[in-house]
């Protein structure tokens, strides 16, 4: 298990937790992120019931989780938020930001409507301790209701499943170390999971409008520096929605 600070300046910080070697091997590895600002916290894609205990125990070493006031779910998948009811049982006042179209689906995880703040299709802002985080639409990448989250202060762009990689077991780095090699772990995932080239191009244009120093996916390694543009160019040229033909 790795927990590291990605950004830490004054009262603002980003932490990532990933590479859980103790997880059952059939469970996909996930990255969980915690943003803190002025003593308030928000969890990004906090993970499934399977890793709730580990995520909560690890983050609790670095931050008082009683100060986590919200959870952001990029989309509805079980590896993203099936742990929600456990987080809410621990803090019944927790606010959960989810794509609007998934509200009635997410309530199947045992979440009550009073905790949910639906995110409109056009995105918007989430305010954490007086600091605005920008919610950027990423629909159809892969989910039909899907968002990324950009932090202008840390210049970190949380991309959810975009940029995700199914890494080999012996890959322990939190960051991409060899981009060309890394594409081998990303290609099938993006061809298979991402259905729309048009949506892809819109999202890439949105990322390029912003000043980004790190691009953080929910699975696999984090992109920083020139690897961000490497990824955007690679993704731009990839014909997504085509992965199914290889398994027919």
């Amino acid at each position: 298990m790795r927990v590291e600070h990605l950004f830490n300046k004054n009262t603002h910080s980003w932490m990532v937790m990933g590479r859980d070697d103790d997880r059952r091997k059939e469970v996909i590895d996930t990255n969980q992120y915690l943003i803190q600002h002025n003593g308030r916290g928000i969890l990004l894609d906090p993970g499934g019931v399977e890793n709730f205990a580990v995520v909560a125990a690890e983050f609790s070493k670095h931050f008082d989780l009683a100060d986590v006031e919200a959870v952001f779910a990029s989309h509805q998948d079980p590896d993203v938020i099936s742990s929600l009811s456990l987080w809410i049982q621990t803090n019944p006042n927790l606010i959960v930001y989810v794509p609007k179209i998934w509200v009635s689906f997410i309530t199947h995880f045992g979440v009550k409507l009073e905790n949910i703040r639906p995110i409109p299709d056009e995105g918007g802002f989430i305010t954490l301790g007086g600091h605005d985080l920008e919610v950027v639409p990423a629909h159809y990448l892969h989910s039909p209701g899907n968002f990324s989250l950009y932090d202008p202060q840390a210049k970190i762009f949380f991309s959810g499943d975009i940029g995700a990689a199914l890494l080999p077991e012996d890959y322990t780095d939190l960051f991409v170390t060899d981009f060309s090699e890394h594409t081998k772990s990303m290609e099938y995932f993006h061809r298979r999971w991402m259905p729309s080239n048009a949506a892809k191009m819109r999202w890439i244009a949105e990322v390029r409008k912003r000043d980004v120093e790190m691009l953080c996916p929910q699975h696999g390694a984090i992109f920083k520096g020139e690897d961000i543009e490497n990824f955007l160019t690679w993704f731009e040229n990839l014909d997504v929605g085509s992965g199914w033909s290889s398994v027919r």
């Binding site: 019931v49 709730f52 205990a53 580990v54 909560a56 125990a57 983050f59 609790s60 070493k61 670095h62 931050f63 008082d64 989780l65 009683a66 009811s85 456990l86 049982q89 621990t90 803090n91 019944p92 045992g110």
Partner: protein, 229 residues
């Protein structure tokens, strides 16, 4: 006994309770077509009594009794359906809450108080909420089982009443000669239906007893687990 053994035993008991609820649900659903057949029988009795003409006065009295019996059986079946649906939902909530309880135990085992910035009380409150849910659902489930038992207990009386009505119908049909032929068919159908009702009600009562026993064991294990902590 160690906490782990109680936890495992409780998990097994929840499994048993849930499976027994589902079996009881399946058995109780078999009563639904029986209610429809009772309704059909009432219609047959009415038309048979009408066919007997002036000779059918006794049939008309019996028909009224058969209709009343049919209504009572239908009400009983419809009430049990509502309760069993609630029982299955509660059993499934209990199983889910218990999974959460296990996850919290796992979490508390992962915590290292020396290095923590979060107070363990924060997580203990989550676990307490789960335990409260379990207690609440357990109590509700016990109450529902009591209600179901009360709903099913008059069935044996209804069966006896039906058997008696079937005998009376046969006697009246025989004494009416050829006018009573179609009412004899009604008597036969009534005998078959109450026979089925009797058989099913015996099976359901036995399942309900097993379920109540399993609930008691599970509640005992739950108490043991709480004391073990």
């Amino acid at each position: 006994m160690s906490e782990n053994i109680y936890t495992r035993k409780m998990g097994e008991e929840y499994d048993i309770v849930f499976r027994q609820c589902v079996s009881l649900n399946t058995e109780l659903h078999k009563l639904v077509p029986l209610a429809k057949q009772m309704h059909l029988l009432s219609s047959n009795a009415v038309s048979s009594a009408a066919r007997a003409g002036t000779e059918g006065d006794a049939f008309r009295v019996l028909t009224q009794d058969i209709q009343l019996l049919g209504d009572e059986v239908s009400h009983c079946i419809s009430d049990t359906q509502k309760v069993i649906n609630e029982i299955v939902t509660l059993a499934s909530h209990l199983a889910r809450s218990f999974s959460s309880y296990i996850i919290y135990l796992d979490l508390l085992n992962h915590l290292d108080e020396k290095t923590m910035k979060t107070s363990p009380k924060y997580f203990e409150s989550g676990q307490k909420n789960v335990v409260d849910d379990i207690r609440d659902n357990n109590n509700k489930l016990s109450r529902c089982l009591g209600t179901l038992s009360n709903l099913l207990s008059p069935v044996s009386t209804l069966v006896k009443k039906g058997e008696y009505l079937a005998v009376c119908s046969s006697v009246e049909a025989a004494s009416a000669g050829e006018h009573g032929v179609s009412f004899e068919a009604v008597a036969t159908m009534l005998r078959e239906l109450v026979g089925q009702l009797g058989t099913q009600s015996t099976r359901q009562s036995s399942l309900l007893r097993d379920l109540s026993d399993a609930m008691e064991k599970q509640q005992q294990n739950q108490r043991n687990l709480m004391y073990a902590r």
